[in-house]
Symmetry: C2
């Protein structure tokens, strides 16, 4: 424990003041971040480009310039660092997503999201693994074990939630956003279980029992991670409600919220759970309870602070991935046969597309089956968007690839170098080309209606009397007209779950943990109006509004 | 350059995900931060304790527990890290101080502040150095060079601005706050120059020319550092005004402000200037121009975000100093003669008190001489408070001591270990005992008047029509009644400087860079009212309001 603290202190602050180079590096990075924001703003009117693509391109250019300046020698420079990503960049992004997510939309589609995130990821994993086994041998890439193929399946089944945030807009396409983004969050839990399972797996003795253990493991991980996030959120709500910081200090309230959220994430990492799930749910709980217990200025501040931190972390991340792409050491190691990484990447991209199609369309059909007549189904056009918007692979894939195929960023094996460079190519290509095309595709398939922003899901926040977090609109409207037994069963279950939750929330949770209605609340006050629903999406889609 | 970037990536994110100990360490630290905030809140009513003392004590306890758990063996654990301090913790604290400082009060006393910070620090430096030379020999501490004595003078002349923020309240005692805190900021520039001068100095050839070079160096450093901060602030104002982020996104505005401020600090470090001065002035300029160019929600957000980040950094810092105090390696090395560090610390504390008295009272007298009859002079009681509140030595002293007496935190020499442990004792004692007594002393010497918070200096912010940043109240009131030539000269100079600045600001600066009156501004809107002047001070003094 003590040693760990020492490691923290020595490493996390490991830049020596006298270390001139490190200070230069920080300056370059911060200056690049500023430029990305300004350029991203200038390109805002452009329908093709978004902030992440700008950052990626700027990262690539900077990486190229550094390579040129150093005479192509600095091969060890731009090694991707999993920990910078998992410990500093990812938590604010996912927490903010949970904090700003439209909860009603999210929980209404909870079953579908879980189906996509858990079952869908498994289907994709199996298809990519099997496909890789069948096709890679023809490419003659080198000696890969069965474990490697399974790892490839897991790496490329990891949807990039951060990219989703960039290409889909919560206000314009709330259903699609909640489905694709929610899937990405649940997907993370599946990936963690998959990856751990693969590392421990005894392939010779693979049978039904192993599969059962796997499912049990997933359920355990899913529920404990969620529970941890919920407990952290409730604790923050309770502390702030009981101590009544509100009388004195916004700083303390905001600090407690930030620190508790981060603590839940790090605790989750410590316990080998899914940090992403934990911090996502702590964000949801905080926005449902804690946010209503704080002062008005704390509400404005938290809303925007979390969004800003997430915004900076996102740009940082894409910049970083862009710079990392030019890791000359691996390119050189892999380039003895330059055709291979290209062919490999193309194969992987094809498998990713097939693997995703193999679960999006069947599972959407299943999900539609269980829906009430009165509720909108997932149309075929929407299914295409869901399929497309989840094709992007990002920093999570790169981090997993580095974890699997290198020892802290370095490798001597040609096959490993080829795998890393292929992953980088897949990520760059999918983020830039697929990301590039998402907005036009969306406009083509589902043309934006004027004024479509003010749909039901955003009204539910704008009008504080419409209802609580969940369920109020599950009780209005006609009786369901079930068509078959499965649908009847699911409809009844959904309705009763929501009703029970709402009752429980009103009679037990809110009196203890606060929340809307249990603290002074001025409906439609200027601050409320000016902040709700305006800063939720990222900025690139602002042209539509 | 390339190498530096690699170092950044490798070091700043050097915590391996698989490194279980580091994650434990982060968990402990974040949990401690949360506890400090909660305990600090619970102790708020207590007139003796403030948040920094709570954090120090909790740090000491945690350090003790870790020592016990590790069986007293982990001597390399809690080494103070200069870089964590200078690169991550100090910038947000000083930037926030500049951002929230009452500018009118600050610039009105600018001459006095500069006098204290530059000349005063020099006087203190000379007295402590000479005193150490005379007294340390009697204590037989070991072989110290002339350069070491000079370094001791510089280390213990560094006032701790962060402690000042904790013990003095800007709203209750605006004059004292601006004097003592402003002195601390200017003091930093002096310390940097002193430290660099000492390292380069050729003691054999010390003459008038060297002194002149020293003064020139100080002036160069002071002006370039200030200029860099001002340019960064103006640039952020210009970018935000020109690009009109306001229409779309609070996130971008807030991100640009944070990143530009940090960039100015790091650039200052890169150019070997005083980062503290730079980031302080960038805070001042941003609050004068940039802050008025952004949306209403950005204003609330920035105000509280900067305060929160600073708040977390302050607690982190004190927690860290507390944990670091139990650096067993140095204690063991120094403890061969356990009496020595105690005697040494007592001597240093005495010298610090004498050294500070030697400039506070004479310079206050000088400053009073130059003041108009109608303007308040610094009373003797106030001088005592200024003397007392600046006695605390903090993280800056520790950082400088580590820089001078260790090689990246470690040392084998007994004399160096003794110097480090003595510094730690001085810092702990002055922060805890002096900090403890500041509030009671203040209440005893200057009892708080009821309603004293709403004095002129806070009204100038509350009432947007009262005037601009500077000078409006320098033109009202009767003619000055100069008593002697010096006073006449200074009075006239002060008035004309202010008038020229105001004209320049109105006719050139504001049209270009924005600021109050040049962007839509709703006086007394709810957000304005609820945030101005309420979150400025730290929380510990809230009992008076």
């Amino acid at each position: 424990m003590g040693l760990g603290l020492g490691a923290l202190v020595l490493k996390s602050g490991g830049l020596s003041v006298s270390d001139h180079d490190s200070i230069v590096a920080i300056n370059i990075f911060v200056a690049l971040l500023c430029s990305c924001i300004v350029i991203g703003h200038l390109l805002e009117g452009n329908r093709w480009v978004n902030e992440s693509i700008t950052a990626l391109v700027m990262g690539l250019i900077t990486g190229g310039v550094i390579l040129l300046v150093s005479g192509g020698k600095n091969s060890h420079i731009l090694v991707f660092n999993e920990d910078l990503f998992f410990i500093y960049l990812l938590p604010p992004i996912i927490f903010n997503a949970g904090f700003q997510v439209k909860k009603k939309q999210f929980f209404r589609n909870f079953m579908t999201i879980t189906l996509f995130g858990a079952v869908g990821t498994l289907i994709s994993f199996v298809i990519i693994s099997l496909g890789a086994m069948a096709l890679f041998k023809k490419l003659d890439v080198g000696p890969l074990q069965l474990g490697d193929y399974l790892a490839i399946g897991a790496i490329f089944s990891a949807t990039d939630s951060v990219c989703t945030l960039q290409v889909l807009n919560q206000d314009e396409t709330p259903l699609l956003y909640s489905l694709v983004f929610g899937e990405g969050v649940v997907n993370d839990a599946t990936s963690v279980v998959l990856f751990n399972a693969i590392e421990d797996i005894d392939i010779a003795n693979f049978d039904a029992l192993v599969l059962l253990a796997f499912i049990g493991n997933f359920l355990y991980l899913f529920f404990t991670s969620t529970l941890l996030g919920v407990v952290a959120g409730l604790l923050s709500a309770y502390i702030i409600k009981k101590l009544g910081f509100a009388r004195h200090s916004t700083d303390r309230e905001v600090a407690i919220m930030i620190l508790m959220a981060y603590l839940s994430y790090m605790l989750s990492m410590l316990l080998d759970l899914s940090g992403i799930l934990t911090v996502f749910f702590s964000g949801i709980v905080m926005s449902h309870y804690t946010w209503h217990n704080v002062t008005e200025s704390s509400r404005v501040t938290t809303k925007h602070t979390f969004a800003t931190l997430s915004f900076i972390a996102e740009i940082f991340l894409f910049l970083y991935v862009g710079m990392d792409a030019l890791d000359i050491e691996k390119w050189r190691l892999a380039s003895s046969s330059p055709k291979k990484p290209i062919a490999l990447s193309a194969t992987i991209l094809g498998l990713v597309m097939v693997g995703r199609a193999a679960f999006v369309f069947p599972l959407s059909f299943l999900s539609n089956l269980s829906k009430k007549e009165t509720r909108p189904k997932i149309s075929f056009k929407q299914q295409v968007i869901i399929w497309w918007a989840g094709l992007m692979r990002g920093a999570v894939s790169i981090a997993l690839a580095y974890h699997k195929f290198t020892a802290s960023g370095h490798t001597e094996l040609r096959i490993n170098a080829i795998m890393i460079t292929s992953t980088v190519i897949v990520v760059l290509f999918s983020t830039m080309v697929f990301g590039f095309l998402t907005k036009p595709l969306l406009n083509f398939l589902i043309p934006p209606r004027p004024g479509s922003v003010a749909d039901l899901s955003s009204q539910s926040i704008l009008d504080p009397f419409l209802g609580s977090l969940l369920g109020s609109d599950f009780d209005v409207g006609g009786q369901p007209s079930p068509q078959n037994n499965l649908q009847l069963l699911l409809t009844i279950q959904t309705r009763s779950v929501h009703r029970v939750w709402r009752k429980f929330d009103d009679s037990f949770m809110r009196p203890v943990f606060g929340g809307r209605g249990f603290v002074p609340f001025v409906p439609g006050s200027p601050v409320e109006r000016s902040t709700h629903g305006s800063q939720l999406g990222t900025v690139t889609e602002a042209e539509h509004s």
